[in-house]
């Protein structure tokens, strides 16, 4: 049985300095890794003979505007059905060059998740077969989940109401 201690030892033994931090929160291991090794790491985790992280549960982006040069984060939730253990992997990207290789060749399920992350955060997944907007209108030229966009556009006048304001 693979538990969190074995897992963190095995992974840090293999990748060493590229693992920037390991934390355990609410029973799940939380890795922050160097973005250059993400493909190698996921490939290794997927094909490892005992770990076997065969299932990509979710992939999403996060925006941290105050972290200089690390504004965007991509979060991978992996699950190993053989060991019944989940891990979470973060990578950080500068918003000036938000590029990360796609994982669609490892996990085909990442296709739409990456399109969604591209749409909402502007992360460019290089090598993605069909990287275009998925949920919103096609000509939308901004990425709405970035923190600089407020929920309500205060410059709009068409919703002015005498009694309730905006």
């Amino acid at each position: 049985m693979v538990d969190n201690n074995v897992l963190s030892d095995t992974i840090s033994a293999q990748f060493g300095d590229d693992i920037l931090s390991i934390e355990e929160s609410y029973g799940m291991l939380d890795f922050i890794v160097n973005k250059d090794i993400i493909i190698d790491l996921l490939k290794w985790l997927k094909n490892h003979e005992t770990l076997k992280f065969n299932f990509l549960t979710s992939l999403c982006g996060v925006h941290y505007p105050e972290k200089e040069d690390h504004e965007l984060s991509v979060v991978y939730h992996l699950y190993s059905m053989y060991n019944n253990v989940r891990i979470r992997i973060h990578i950080f990207l500068p918003i000036a060059k938000p590029e990360v290789p796609t994982v669609t060749h490892l996990y085909p399920t990442a296709n739409w998740m990456e399109r969604e992350t591209f749409e909402f955060f502007g992360v460019i997944f290089t090598g993605h077969p069909n990287l275009k907007i998925i949920l919103n209108v096609e000509d939308m030229d901004y990425h709405p989940l970035l923190k600089q966009y407020p929920l309500v556009d205060n410059t709009r006048t068409d919703k002015d109401d005498k009694y309730f304001g905006r």
Partner: protein, 412 residues
């Protein structure tokens, strides 16, 4: 020159050579299925590349009812996010509500009592039954059998009456609170659940008899829209669709939440991952859900129907009207003026369609810093073109209804 294939034309022609294209060069039709086609049960568009009646390729357009839930959630106090989750899988909204409340409780470190857990299990299993009723009866409708649909839908109505007794709403329920429930089960709820436990199994068997060994239904569904277990895992399938392909993954068993480990139930599995298997798996899951409800109701522990989370659970009204502390807490809860501990948490529940996950990042503020919903429909719907390739148009319709793609969950 006759009988020349399209590839040959592309690859082997010399410049300047003249060919006469004749009957062998196919003309493909592009068919717009949706977005408001009555047979798609929701707003889905598929552009199908057709060769006669055979589908060669499909391209989906999604997002017609995208409502920016993740952005909305970043601007609301925690208790106001529960109604957002209703609108994802609106066929089983209590599962979404309770899944979200459990995520918050996990972040806060709140331990619920057994009674709360069991009440939640009862409601979630009722929701699962109503979800599967819709899916399975609609598979019947799409194969031309309307009777079963009309017959079994009365039980969905009865389940909605139970929701109504518990929380006052029927479809978008906003059921429960962070920490438990707003009120206890009243005697009407108990008697209505007992009524379902008594009458629904009979109706379910009658419904099953209409379809499951029906020659027409079997011919229409066996081998239609099938997917292998390996492919399903690669595509991130979860829930009944994955179990129909033969993988015994269920969040209730693998990561028990809300005391699911106390109950005795089996996971039905299919072998081919086709429409017929998905129908059978859902059918048996309803039987198992009834079994869970029966056990939970029989062993429903005594105790309080909520735990003490003053920061999130509204104080009783008599305290609000008579004491200053009650009034203060009431206002603090309603205005959402409570700072949440820092942290990241992922919590998953077994929704009607699969693993419904909530990834919550809190930065110590009053609203989530980031909330990501893992919506099972969104993830497995990408396999749809692969599943319908080479099949007929009418098979594509039942494949979609058997996958139980819910537009609200797909588009968030």
């Amino acid at each position: 020159m006759t009988n020349i294939s399209e590839d040959k034309i592309k690859n082997q022609l010399n410049p300047g050579e003249i060919v006469h294209l004749e009957d062998d060069l196919k003309i493909y039709n592009y068919l717009n299925l949706g977005p408001t086609h009555p047979a798609t049960h929701g707003i889905f568009q598929n552009v199908l590349k057709m060769d006669g009646e055979v589908i060669l390729d499909a391209e989906q357009t999604i997002g017609y009812i995208h409502r920016a839930f993740e952005k909305l959630a970043e601007n609301r106090p925690f208790y106001q996010i529960t109604p957002i989750t209703d609108r994802m899988n609106y066929c089983s909204s209590p599962i979404n509500n309770i899944g979200w409340q459990m995520t918050v409780e996990k972040l806060l470190g709140v331990k619920t009592t057994k009674r709360v857990d069991y009440m939640r299990v009862i409601i979630m299993e009722l929701a699962r039954i109503s979800d599967h009723i819709i899916c399975n009866s609609v598979i019947g409708v799409d194969t031309g059998a309307l009777t079963g649909f009309l017959y079994i839908f009365q039980f969905r109505e009865k389940i909605y009456e139970i929701y109504e007794q518990i929380c006052g709403a029927r479809l978008t329920t906003n059921i429960g609170r962070i920490g438990g429930f707003e009120r206890d089960f009243n005697p009407t709820v108990i008697s209505k659940i007992e009524e379902i436990l008594k009458e629904f199994p009979k109706a379910l068997i009658e419904f099953e008899k209409l379809l499951i060994r029906n020659r027409i239904f079997m011919d229409r569904t066996i081998g239609v829209g099938s997917i292998s277990a390996e492919r399903a895992l690669e595509y991130g399938f979860t829930g009944p669709n994955l179990r129909a392909a033969g993988v015994d993954y269920d969040v209730r068993v693998m990561h028990p939440y809300s005391s699911y480990e106390d109950f005795d139930f089996i996971l039905p599995l299919g072998t081919n991952g086709d429409t017929y298997d998905r129908f059978c798996v859902r059918q048996e899951e309803m039987v198992q859900s009834l079994k869970i409800i029966e056990q939970a109701l029989k062993n429903l522990p005594e105790g309080d129907y909520h735990v003490d989370v003053p920061e999130f659970y509204l104080p009783p009204k008599d305290e609000v009207y008579t004491t200053i502390e009650g009034l203060i807490w009431h206002f603090k809860v309603v205005y959402g003026e409570i700072n949440i501990p820092k942290g990241q948490v992922y919590h998953a529940v077994e929704g009607g369609n699969g693993e419904l996950g909530f990834y919550l990042i809190s930065d110590g503020g009053r609203q989530p810093y980031r909330l990501h919903f893992r919506r099972p429909c969104f993830i497995y719907y990408q396999a749809y073109p692969e599943m319908i390739k080479g099949s007929l148009l009418s098979d594509a319709i039942i494949t979609m209804s058997s996958m139980n793609v819910i537009a609200g969950e797909l588009d968030a």
